[in-house]
């Protein structure tokens, strides 16, 4: 144990000497052999919504599309929920996208759920809808806030019963530039998982 105590700080020093941020960063999101083998697979069998055909003149439509795209995950391809969010790049401001990209290696908020879905090669099926209440606001002609509540479940590829997912509520901030609405920030106010142990 004493040796381990000496070893651990030494290991950290050595790692820090070569790049401390790497030693202290979260579990790396690396591409494994398994991932390489599955990259020929269609993301969620082609079912994920895309940024094409989104009515960018409408703040509500843009917010809803952002939430839908961000909640569509393929457990056999995606490392974390952020992977879905980054697929909505065309709906995001440059700064918001860049900011989220920096966090792309974060640990998966739904790690256990992804793992369970992966056993059945599952992908999520999101349903996004406006949040009832007073979250929505038109702050200015070029600034808007929209509340979106998104539910999802996991569709399996191995024929087993679909897996419960969850629900969350997001406040989505948008700005209009060049006639098109862009997401410039979001905040999730609640996340509820529906799967039980």
């Amino acid at each position: 144990m004493g040796e381990m105590r000496r070893f651990v700080p030494l290991a950290l020093v050595l790692l820090c000497a070569t790049g401390c941020s790497d030693a202290s960063e979260p579990e790396p999101v690396t591409t494994s052999a398994t991932t390489s083998a599955s990259t020929t697979r269609d993301l969620a069998d082609g079912s994920c919504p895309t940024t094409r055909n989104v009515d960018r003149s409408d703040a509500s439509a843009t917010a809803r599309a952002y939430a839908s795209i961000g909640h569509c995950w393929d457990s056999t391809l995606d490392e974390n929920t952020m992977t879905g969010v980054l697929r909505a790049k065309d709906l995001m401001s440059v700064s918001w996208y860049d900011q989220q990209k920096k966090g792309s290696a974060a640990r998966n908020t739904l790690q256990a759920q992804f793992g369970k879905a992966a056993k059945h090669e599952g992908y999520s099926v999101p349903e996004a809808a406006p949040t009832a209440g007073d979250v929505d606001r038109d702050v200015a002609a070029d600034k808007a806030v929209r509340g979106i509540t998104t539910s999802w479940h996991w569709k399996t590829r191995d024929g087993s019963t679909d897996i419960p997912g969850g629900r969350d509520q997001q406040i989505i901030y948008l700005e209009k530039h060049g006639g098109q609405w862009l997401v410039v920030g979001t905040q999730t106010t609640t996340t509820e998982e529906l799967d039980k142990a």
Binding site: S21, G103, F114, G133, D168, T189, T190, D195
Partner: protein
């Protein structure tokens, strides 16, 4: 849930022609299979019983289990206790993390190569595992305790003496790395990390804390909430959106967050005083009734978007009595919003006496009502 013995399910012997062989084979199957089947079922049921110590945190009220850690699988209870002590995190938070990482599955894995109940990658296990078994509950939880202690140490200076903040920053460091937390001087502006912290702290209270007592990291106010339970302000309502907080990193400066909680019963439902209050005023534009708790700690509260304003300043309203009716009155328009109750709470003795001592929405004194309503037994189902 700890791994069950489901792989040991017995199978009948092969049947090779002849009725006699069939009968013998069937008998063998019964002799071998039934005990195994019973063992598997018993193990499964026992596992379930050990997990479901309480149906929900509120059900622990009668057992006087306020603050006790509940709903942890038996095999994890002592290791989680020890890990919490080593790491300096609340037991309920540790339990919420392990549930989120692996659902207490010792054989959990991930695409990134993480393994075991605490989802260590081989690289981090090499630093903290001390040669143990990554799938073993005791070994992995001990390593988890060491790892979280190290992360906590790296972000401690950012929290000052705010214990609630330290838990949140430690969770953020676990999710995004301590360097990211140090760069942001707080929870980094990554949606994944903010969601993670919110989810773990919420789950710690609602899934693993007896009587739904708020747990460090998820508290919106650190003082004594006062005696007795409260009543749900919108009986029959459902939660639709939560508290957005202020000064959230990464959001544009114009983003004024949603400073209360929204509950909806579809319109027309009675809005009820959660505790004894005195009306401090009304806001006609959004049909808000503002009130102050009569007993300590004297929170101020707001109930907005009512159909009409039927109470007056100075009026005393007892807990459980109706204040108004749920509607969508907002911005002077009876249909300005979908029907719901927007409920706010304010820190006691905040506002420096402005507005005659009445707090106002967005006056800088707002606190998140959700963990408080939950702890006081006044949350919607």
């Amino acid at each position: 849930m700890a791994e069950s013995g489901s792989g040991a399910m017995g199978k009948g012997a092969g049947v090779v022609g002849g009725l006699g062989c069939l009968i013998v084979a069937a008998l063998i199957a019964v002799v071998l299979g039934v005990p195994l089947l019973v063992a598997v079922l018993a193990g499964g049921i026992a596992g379930q019983l050990s997990l479901d110590e309480s149906e929900g945190c509120a059900d622990a009220v009668s057992a006087n289990d306020g603050g006790k850690t509940i709903n942890v699988p038996k095999a994890f209870q002592e290791p989680i206790k020890k890990a919490a002590k080593v790491s300096g995190l609340p037991e309920q938070t540790v339990a919420a993390q392990i549930k989120a990482e692996s659902n207490f599955d010792t054989q959990a894995g991930s695409k990134a190569g993480a393994q075991g109940p605490a989802q260590f990658t081989p690289e981090t296990w090499a630093l903290y595992g001390q040669g143990g078994d990554i799938h073993d509950i005791e070994d992995s939880m001990a390593a988890y305790g060491r790892y979280m202690k190290a992360l906590r140490g790296e972000v401690k200076s950012l929290a000052g003496d705010d214990a609630n903040k330290l838990v949140r920053l430690t969770l953020a460091a676990y999710n995004a790395g301590p360097v990211a937390v140090q760069k942001a001087k707080g929870i980094p502006p990554f949606q994944e990390t903010q969601d993670y912290v919110s989810k773990i702290t919420g789950s710690a209270q609602m899934s693993f804390s007896g009587e739904c007592k708020a747990v460090e990291g998820g508290k919106s106010w650190n003082g004594d909430l006062g005696k007795g339970e409260w009543t749900i302000p919108l009986p029959g309502g459902q939660f639709t959106s939560g508290y957005g907080g202020r000064n959230v990193p990464g959001l544009p400066s114009w983003a004024q967050n949603h400073m209360g909680v929204d509950l909806s019963a579809g319109g027309g439902a009675p809005i009820i005083a959660p505790m004894d209050i005195t009306v401090t005023g009304t806001l006609p534009n959004d049909h808000c009734v503002m009130g102050k708790m009569d007993s300590k700690p004297g929170f101020q509260v707001a109930f907005c978007h009512m159909k009409s304003l039927d109470v007056k300043k100075g009026e005393k309203i007892k807990r459980g009595k109706q204040i108004g009716v749920e509607s969508g009155f907002m911005g002077g328009n009876p249909s300005g919003a979908a029907a719901h109750l927007h409920f706010e709470m304010y820190r006691p003795n905040c506002g420096a006496g402005k507005n005659g001592g009445m707090n106002f929405p967005y006056d800088g004194c707002n606190i998140d009502p959700e963990p408080i309503l939950k702890e006081k037994g006044a949350w919607v189902k």
